[in-house]
Structures are given as C-alpha cells and as structure tokens.
C-alpha cells in the first residue's frame, strides 16, 4: 500500500477537475432549477477555444507563454456559448413546464457536439492538445505530470475566488438571494435576469479552465469529451448537494478520490478481484452516485428543501 500517497494525489487532481466543471451545473441549478445538460459541451468548446488560440500563435511559441492567451480565448468561447444558450434557448422557456428546458438542454448538447464535429477542422477525430514535456514533478511520496501543475494552481484559485465573490461582494449576495427566493430578490431591486446570466457565465468560465486542464492532462481534445466529463461533474454536483457551490467542490474531490481508490485497491477486496483497474472506474463513480441518491438524496452538503418558515 505504499503507493497510497500517489493514489491520493491522482484522486485529488481528478476531483479538482470534476469540481471545476461541477460549479457550472450547481450554480445554474441553484438559481433556475435547470440541469444544464449542455454544460459538458460548454466545457468541450473551451477546449477547442484554447487549441484554436494555440494554433494561431507562431509555431514554436512555448506553451507557458501561450497559456494566458489560451485561457482568455477558452473562457471567451465558453462564456459566449453559455450565455447565448441562456439567452436564446432557456430564457424563452422560463416559466413554462419544467421538462421543456431540460429537453432543450439535451438537444443543445447534441447540436454543439455535432457543430464542432462538422465545422471544426479535422475534429471528426481527436485533435492533439499541446502538452508540457519533461519528467514528472517529484514531491517525494508522490509525483505529478507537469501539465497537472496548471490544475493544481487553477482549481484552488478559482474556488477561493468564487467563495469570496459569493460571500463578500454585493453581486454575490444578490446571487444568493436570487437562488433562495427569486421573486423576493426582485423586490429588493435585484435584476434577476442579470444574476442568471452571471451564473451561466461563471459556470462556463470555470468549465473553460477545466477544459484546458483536461487537455493538458490527456493531450487531446475531441467533440465528445464533454459527455463523460460532464456526466462525472454532474455526479459530483449531486454528490455534494446540487445548488451548493461548496458541495460541488467537495463532491468533485470525493468522487475523484473514490474513483482512484476503487481503481487501485478494489481488486484486493475478497470477491472483487476481477473488478480492479481503469476499465471499471466509471462504474465506481456511478455506483457512488446511486448510493448517495439512495441514502442521502439531498447530497453531502445539501439542505432539506423545506427550510422556509
């Protein structure tokens, strides 16, 4: 078991990635009670945005220098798609039956995948994403890929910034008020339409950052990468308690750790010898989701819905 620190590190990194994407699901759900199933594709578009920015730069530009521009362009692409989806796909359906925006979200998800597949050059197969080359960074008990350094820095920075924004700023308080009671928030003078746009934008920006981390980690982007990553992040959001941003972070980390632990160690459990290894990792993630839904449907940090006196 002396590779435990390494497995913990792997799990934490994976969890940070899930957590970043999960923020988008949970913020949008918290404010408009919509599961934005197109969020995985907003993540994917960020990956292609970053790749596009990298390919624009003259050949031989170092990745570290290119990174700021890649982040900027990825965030712009994802936010435009996210905010556009809210404005043109979801807002016209607001106040209608709950199923309508949900179906729209699934439709939008397929449409965005197909749009990249059809129109992005050579996107019918995976496109190579630039990687940091060089030996792994050794921390003694464990080591990480150089590319994961981005995730290691970006995830906590984003999460702390979001926590401060929501709890300390005027807009953040307006966002909390809107999520707790939208009608009453309007009575306070809060423009709730703007708050909804803000929630979509923040979620999309975090997804774009996550997409770069994902690209650096796996060395490629493709038009379907949003599907499984989105599903995992959605699982993380539900696990933590959907609607709660701290829940999304914790849910991501728990899911990441569970996945890496199960992958590494479950074969040692009597009777589970043939379930070890990476091929089963998605199964463990979703088993965990099912367990949480059965035993604690409101999620780890979720609150019971009836908290209004």
């Amino acid at each position: 078991m002396n590779d435990l620190p390494q497995q913990l590190a792997n799990g934490l990194l994976l969890g940070a990635l899930y957590g970043l994407i999960a923020i988008g699901y949970t913020m949008v759900y918290g404010i408009v009670q919509l599961i934005n199933f197109a969020h995985g594709e907003i993540f994917m578009i960020g990956g292609f945005g970053a790749l596009t920015a990298f390919l624009w730069l003259p050949e031989g530009t170092s990745l570290a220098l290119a990174l700021p521009l890649m982040i900027l362009f990825a965030v712009v692409c994802s936010v435009l798609v996210g905010v556009g989806a809210e404005r043109f796909a979801y807002r016209p359906l607001r106040g209608g039956p709950r199923l309508a925006p949900l179906i729209t979200a699934i439709g939008l998800s397929i449409a965005l995948q197909q749009a990249i597949w059809a129109w992005y050059p050579d996107a019918t197969k995976s496109r190579t994403f630039p990687e940091f080359t060089g030996p792994r960074l050794d921390f003694g008990a464990f080591s990480i890929e150089r590319g994961d350094l981005f995730l290691l820095i970006a995830a906590p920075v984003c999460m702390i910034a979001l926590g401060l924004f929501v709890s300390k700023t005027r807009s953040g308080r307006a966002m909390q008020a809107t999520s707790q009671d939208p009608d009453t928030a309007k009575l306070m003078g809060i423009n709730t339409d703007r708050i909804i746009v803000m929630a979509f934008a923040i979620g999309a920006a975090f997804a774009a950052i996550a997409a770069i981390a994902h690209g650096l980690r796996y060395g490629e982007v493709n038009f379907k990468m949003g599907f499984i990553a989105g599903l995992k992040a959605f699982t993380a959001a539900v696990l933590g308690g959907i609607g709660n941003i701290y829940g999304a972070m914790i849910g991501g980390v728990v899911l990441g750790l569970a996945e890496s632990m199960a992958t590494a160690y479950i074969e040692n459990v009597p009777g589970f010898a043939s379930f070890g290894g990476g091929a089963w990792k998605d199964v463990w993630a979703f088993v965990l989701l099912i367990l949480v839904l059965l035993l604690r449907p409101q999620g780890l940090l979720g609150e019971r819905v009836a908290d209004r006196a």
């Binding site: 308080r173 009608d183 928030a185």
Partner: protein, 238 residues
Amino acid sequence: MTALLEVEDLRVAYGKIEAVKGISFKVEAGEVVTLIGTNGAGKTTTLRTLSGLLKPAGGKIFFDGQPLNGVGAHKIVAMGLAHSPEGRRIFPRLTILENLLLGAFLRRDAAGIDKDVQRAYELFPILGERSKQAAGTLSGGEQQMLAMGRALMSRPKLLMLDEPSMGLSPIMMQKIMETIQELKSQGTTILLVEQNAQAALSLANHGHVMEVGKIVLSGTGQELLHDESVRKAYLGED
C-alpha cells in the same frame, strides 16, 4: 395635488381567471390605507401587481406621478415602492444583517445604510441581538420584523405590507401592529393588507373592502370599523 399612488380600473388575471376585476383607489402621502377582505379577494394579487411581480391585464397605476405599467419589479423598488410580501419571505440562509443589507441593495450611501440598520435594530431590538444568525432560525414573528425592517431599508416613499400579522401569536400580532402605528406616526405612507380587519381599520386613515376581485365598500378607517355590514362580515359579530 395628485396622490402618491393612484390605481385606476386595475385588472389582473391568472390565465383566463380574473383575480382583480377593475379596482380603483388612491394612497395620499403620509396616510395609511388598508385593503381588507377574505382569502381570495385579490388583495395579495393587487400588491404583487403594484410591485411589478405580476403584469396587469388592464387599467393604470401611477406612482409618484409616473406610470408603473410594464415596469420591471427591480425598477419599481428604485422608484420608492417597497413591498414586504405575504409569508414574510426572508432569505433563510442569509444572516439577519445580510437580509437587511439586501433591502438597501440599490443604495450606495454606506453611511446612510449603516444608520438605517441601526434604526431597524432600534425598532426591533431582537434583530440587533441576533444580527449574525441565519434568518431561517428566527420565529415567525421575528421573521415578520425582519421582513418589515428589510422593506424599510430602501427608504421607501410607500411601504406595502402584506398580511404582517398572519400566523402570529396574539402578543406578537399586537407588537407588529404597534410598530405599524409607530411608523405611521413617523410619517411613513403605508398600504396595508390584512385579514385582521379590526386592527387594520383601527389604525388606517382609509380602508377598502375587497370581495372576489372588486372593491365593494370604501371609507375612512373609523367609518368602516362602525359599518354594520363590515362588522358582520369581517369582525365576527352577529
């Protein structure tokens, strides 16, 4: 001189069902006007339309000389109309102080906001004692105090209170009514919706009785309080 609030032939419908069927009334600056009536008479619908949460199907609303038809709820607050909604609707997971500050969301004068928070604490000392506590942990009466304090934080020209005494103990109800009396004596203009007709009419300058979407009787508070049909229908006398 025109009244602070003028409502002319206001109609509000939920789908095809008309909840408010053409009502007209005025609120003059400095007075307390009450709408009384049974459940479903359209009182809450009227207030929600005035504050912009519902769109009128017909009629006109003028506030402070400006038409309110078609203005978004968040802009109506800015014009000086505050609404303390039915059921209190405080933000349960925010603290008491945060709730109060949200009442002043559109104001930028930090010093003035501080002063008004202190004023709310003077009006309702319990709010000051528990300022850092989540609002959802307050009792019903305390939540009502918070809702009223929050509505006052926008320094409104007109304060609309929807059923402030609903579900409260007699002692708490009396305390709330005393506070409304105090606000009145300070010159606050109030539009009060109440099921407790006795209490509401006792402190109102004018009252209107609503029945199934219409105003069926209007008069001064005292007139209505002594009107035989009102006494029978709303004050529980035979």
